[in-house]
Amino acid sequence: AAGVIQSPRHLIKEKRETATLKCYPIPRHDTVYWYQQGPGQDPQFLISFYEKMQSDKGSIPDRFSAQQFSDYHSELNMSSLELGDSALYFCASSPDRPTGYTFGSGTRLTVV
């Protein structure tokens, strides 16, 4: 079965650079979520999109932005990167019924 696809798997950036993370949800899943997981931490909700519109926003810095495109894939753009942005970034998708999320394998971002 198709899963949530994230790219790239690993990304190394320098401070103050910009990073773009991509997420391809499971087909016919109309909601996409972004979570940030620091080392030894639980996943923290960043932002979600339903039918290409932002539906909820969590603790996402102003330096980050995200959007969902017409083909339902989503991108998380992170600018002016800081060392503290180093984390695993997960994308998840869900269908329009209560069954729980499916997570992707994540993008490991390292800021040096």
Partner: protein, 113 residues
């Protein structure tokens, strides 16, 4: 204080043991409860999903929810070394078209052969 509390462990048990993992929460509006398993450097994998109070069984896994005590549990029977992972509880107030999950900090489980 976090909305969802979970003992980080690690919890070390011998193969074949029954494992009990627990979370407590403070938000009485939570109605949907999930357990995720996360292997190192992988995304969380949904194990169990329950609505409101009660029990749900799936193979070796049983999830229990006690809303009156704001307490949820995951039991693993006949634990296997392959069950060694971090187990995250997660909960939500609603399951509308877009719903935010609040996670516990995860319990690291080690099943010794």
């Amino acid at each position: 204080q976090k909305e969802v509390e979970q003992d980080p462990g690690p919890l070390s048990v011998p193969e074949g043991a029954i494992v009990s993992l627990n979370c407590t929460y403070s938000n009485s509006a939570f109605q949907y409860f999930m357990w995720y398993r996360q292997y190192s450097r992988k995304g969380p994998e949904l194990l169990m999903y329950t609505y409101s109070s009660g029990n749900k069984e799936d193979g070796r896994f049983t999830a229990q929810v006690d809303k009156s005590s704001k307490y949820i549990s995951l039991f693993i029977r006949d634990s296997q070394p392959s069950d060694s992972a971090t187990y995250l509880c997660a909960m939500s107030e609603s399951m509308d078209s877009s719903y935010k999950l609040i996670f516990g900090s995860g319990t690291r489980l080690l099943v010794r052969p």
